[in-house]
Every structure is written in structure tokens, then in C-alpha cells.
């Protein structure tokens, strides 16, 4: 058990790395998609709507296969400047996870933006703030406050989702766990070790999200 523990621990950096890179990239995508959806112009909101529908309606594993195997079928992609990224399972994993969290979080952010009371926007207009300033100084801070609890859940889902990249040969926590299971045939033991590592990571995320919520003065619904 000790031996497998130390082997599986070696996968933690890769899991954390993939999760943090795609989460950060995903936030930008999510804000862009959310703004497109509430823009009021059909030309902007429809593509955003279908993008979110497509991503939320299909399994992540399928999206990963599509990016990793499906796109590489074409000559023009293999010759494009994106190829150095798309031929690496690592970047395919990050691209897929970024797109996925971008779609899911855009809904959270959209909900947050829509919950900002119109009175605030009108008030800041009356005070002479520009549209951009209103967004940065009024809408965004309130949105963050509203969206944070749901976004905490999304972070946990991302940690869980990152396990799928083990299927395209990346040796993160689940990848190493699977290799050990198929060698030793001790599934329960390895499950306990890998599972506790994931639970620990998610527990730490919950603590940080709770701290941030308290700092921002979010009252817990009881």
C-alpha cells in the first residue's frame, strides 16, 4: 500500500497542472461566452447558445476523442500551425477541458450577471460611469459574489474530469492507479489510495472556496 501510495502521489502535479491551466483559460472563454449570450444580438447569442448546448449535451470523453483523434484525420490540420499542440495528448486534454469548463461556467457567470439588479446599473449610469467602468466596477464584483458557490462545484467537477486524460495515455493520478491495478490486481487498495488523494484535493478546494465566500461576505443558505 505504501509503495503504490508513493507511485500515485507522483501523478498529483500533472493533475493539478492540467486542472489549473484549463480552469484559468476556461474562465476567459466562459466570460466571453456569457457576454455573447446576454449581448441581445442574435448573431452573438445564438452561436453561444448552441456551443453551450453542444458541450453540455455530449460526454467529455467523446469531446476528448473528437479533439485528439477526430481532428488529426485531416491533412490541413496536420499542416496547420496548431498541429504541434493537437498532436500532443497533453494539449488535447487541456483544450478539451478548457472548452468544457468554459461552457459550464459560462452558464454560472451568465446567471451571476443576470442577478445583478438593474438599479445598480442605472445608478452607476446616473453617476456618469462609462459602460466599461460599470461592468468592471459594479457588475463584475457582484457577479463574482453571486457565482462563487456554484463555481466551487465546477472546480471539483474539473478535478474529477481531469481523470479522463488518463485515457489518452497521460499518467496523472488515475492513469498511474489504472496501471498499478492492471499489474497487481488489487483494485480496492489502489481505489482507496487514489480516491483519498482526490478527496483530499477537493476538500482543500472546498476550504478555499469557503474562505473566499466568507471574505466576500456571502451568507450561506441554510
Amino acid at each position: 500500500m505504501y509503495e503504490s501510495f508513493f507511485k500515485i502521489v507522483e501523478g498529483i502535479p500533472l493533475t493539478l497542472q492540467v486542472v489549473s491551466i484549463s480552469t484559468i483559460l476556461g474562465i476567459f472563454l466562459a466570460v466571453a461566452v456569457a457576454l455573447m449570450r446576454i449581448s441581445g444580438s442574435k448573431l452573438m447569442s445564438l452561436p453561444a447558445y448552441y456551443f453551450v448546448y453542444l458541450i453540455r449535451g455530449t460526454p467529455l470523453l467523446l469531446q476528448l476523442y473528437f479533439v485528439y483523434y477526430g481532428l488529426s484525420q485531416f491533412e490541413f490540420i496536420r499542416e496547420s500551425i496548431l498541429w504541434p499542440l493537437l498532436k500532443e495528448p497533453y494539449w488535447c486534454g487541456i483544450i478539451t477541458l478548457t472548452i468544457s469548463t468554459g461552457a459550464y461556467s459560462s452558464e454560472i457567470i451568465r446567471g451571476g450577471i443576470l442577478s445583478v439588479s438593474k438599479n445598480y446599473i442605472e445608478a452607476s449610469g446616473a453617476l456618469g460611469l462609462s459602460k466599461a467602468k460599470t461592468f468592471m466596477l459594479v457588475t463584475l464584483p457582484i457577479t463574482v459574489r453571486q457565482a462563487l458557490p456554484a463555481y466551487g462545484n465546477e472546480l471539483i467537477l474539473m478535478v474529477k474530469a481531469s481523470s479522463l486524460i488518463s485515457i489518452v495515455t497521460l499518467m496523472e493520478i488515475t492513469g498511474i492507479a489504472r496501471t498499478i491495478i492492471s499489474k497487481t490486481y488489487a483494485p480496492v487498495e489502489i481505489f482507496l489510495v487514489a480516491g483519498s488523494i482526490y478527496l483530499a484535493i477537493n476538500f482543500i478546494i472546498v476550504i478555499f472556496v469557503n474562505l473566499a465566500e466568507r471574505r466576500l461576505g456571502i451568507e450561506k443558505a441554510t
Binding site: R56, P59, L62, F66, S72, S163, I181, Y185, P187, L199
Partner: protein, 237 residues
């Protein structure tokens, strides 16, 4: 370009459709198992016994905190030996192997059970307290109070939540493809491998999943409409 989807032995059309049928079958049986588990563990979470509450809490925390893939690996590699171990206690010494469908149903059912537990618990909690009190005052037994008064209301309130669990379950079944069950995901992998047309087959798989999602949305929406007849939403009051 569409020759590859011909029906019969020349194309992959019928195989892909069978894959879709398998996905729907394994998702439905997982959802049924999940709802059953959900009812049991929701009852545990609402019980007065600390031990039962603790067990249910540990179950939902573990399932919701670790990757689905790990749960599937646990059952895939350990399911058969667990069943054989149980069989040995009852005196059966032979070799038992669970098929991919059973393993998949148990694994995804266990996952959707955790989500169903929360949905059902929330639904029971949102039945007004007066309903319980009136039932008791009218002399209903515990059994008929829950069977005739509480359960129908819980079913109605839980329906939208169960709809969400169904979407999660449907997508989770794609992960069973790693155990060899030939559903949409596995079938499109096989077809993509043998025709060297991964793009077309993964696109077809995406369309199949979206179709199933769309159809099930229609079913759940009409069920919701049917069972909320005569109820006014709280916002309307």
C-alpha cells in the same frame, strides 16, 4: 462520404444505431438502480439514527468527490471477485464473471444513486410539514402516510432534479466504453479505427447523444407538465 453509414454488412449505420440503443438501455437501468439507491439513502439521511446518517453522508461524499472513472475501474477489476467472495459465503465455489453491462449498470447506478439521494432528500424536505402532521392526526399509519401522502408529492417535486440526474447518467455511460461494452462511444471508436474516418464517426456519436438528450428533454418536460397539473408555482402566488 455517407457510404460508411450504410445499413447491413457494408456500413456502420446499423451498428451505430445498436450502440445508441445500448446507451439508452444501460443509462435507463443505471437510472432505475440509482433512484432505488437514492430512495434508500435519502431515507438514511433523514433518519434519526446517527449511524445511518453517517453511512449515507460518507457514500455521497465519496461518490461526488472522486472521479467516475475510478469507480468504474474498481468495479471492472474488483466486481467479479467481490461477487465470488459473497457467493463463497453462501457455499458456491465456482467461477463467476460479471458481464460489461452488469458492471456498467452497477458502477453508473452507484454514481447516479449519490446524485439521486440529494435530489430525493431535497424533495422530501420541501414537502410542507403540515402534510406530515395532518396525516398523523388523521390516524394514518407510518406506512400509508409515506406511501399515500408523502411519496406522490416527493415524486412530483423530484422530477426536474431526476431529469438532471438522467443527463449526468447518460453522459457517464460513455465511460463504460473502457470496459468493452459496445455502446455509442465504443462503437464509434471501433468504426473509426477500422475505417480510418474518426472525424465522421465521432461527429455521428455527438449527433446521437444530442438526439437522445433532446428526446429525453421532451419526455421529461411533458411528464413535468402532466404531474404539475393543478399546482401553481410559488412565484405565481
Amino acid at each position: 462520404m455517407f457510404d460508411v453509414f450504410a445499413l447491413g454488412p457494408t456500413g456502420w449505420g446499423d451498428e451505430m444505431l445498436m450502440g445508441a440503443v445500448m446507451t439508452v438501455l444501460v443509462s435507463s437501468s443505471s437510472l432505475l438502480l440509482g433512484i432505488t439507491i437514492g430512495i434508500i439513502f435519502a431515507a438514511c439521511k433523514l433518519s434519526n439514527f446517527f449511524i445511518l446518517r453517517a453511512i449515507a453522508e460518507v457514500y455521497t461524499t465519496i461518490i461526488r468527490g472522486i472521479p467516475e472513472l475510478l469507480v468504474i475501474y474498481l468495479l471492472f477489476f474488483g466486481g467479479s471477485s467481490a461477487v465470488m467472495y459473497l457467493a463463497k459465503i453462501f457455499g458456491y465455489m465456482g467461477y463467476i464473471e460479471l458481464n460489461a453491462f452488469t458492471i456498467g449498470t452497477i458502477a453508473v447506478g452507484a454514481i447516479s444513486g449519490a446524485y439521486s439521494t440529494e435530489v430525493i432528500r431535497g424533495a422530501v424536505n420541501s414537502v410542507p410539514k403540515g402534510q406530515f402532521e395532518v396525516g398523523k392526526t388523521l390516524g394514518f399509519s407510518r406506512y400509508s402516510l409515506y406511501g399515500k401522502i408523502i411519496f406522490p408529492q416527493v415524486a412530483r417535486i423530484a422530477l426536474p432534479g431526476i431529469g438532471n440526474v438522467w443527463q449526468i447518467t447518460l453522459k457517464d455511460t460513455a465511460l463504460i466504453s473502457v470496459t468493452g461494452l459496445v455502446e455509442i462511444m465504443r462503437q464509434s471508436r471501433i468504426a473509426a479505427g477500422s475505417t480510418h474516418e474518426p472525424f465522421i464517426f465521432y461527429t455521428a456519436a455527438i449527433i446521437l447523444y444530442l438526439l437522445i438528450t433532446r428526446l429525453s428533454n421532451i419526455v421529461f418536460d411533458s411528464a413535468e407538465k402532466k404531474y404539475s397539473k393543478g399546482y401553481v408555482s410559488r412565484e405565481a402566488i
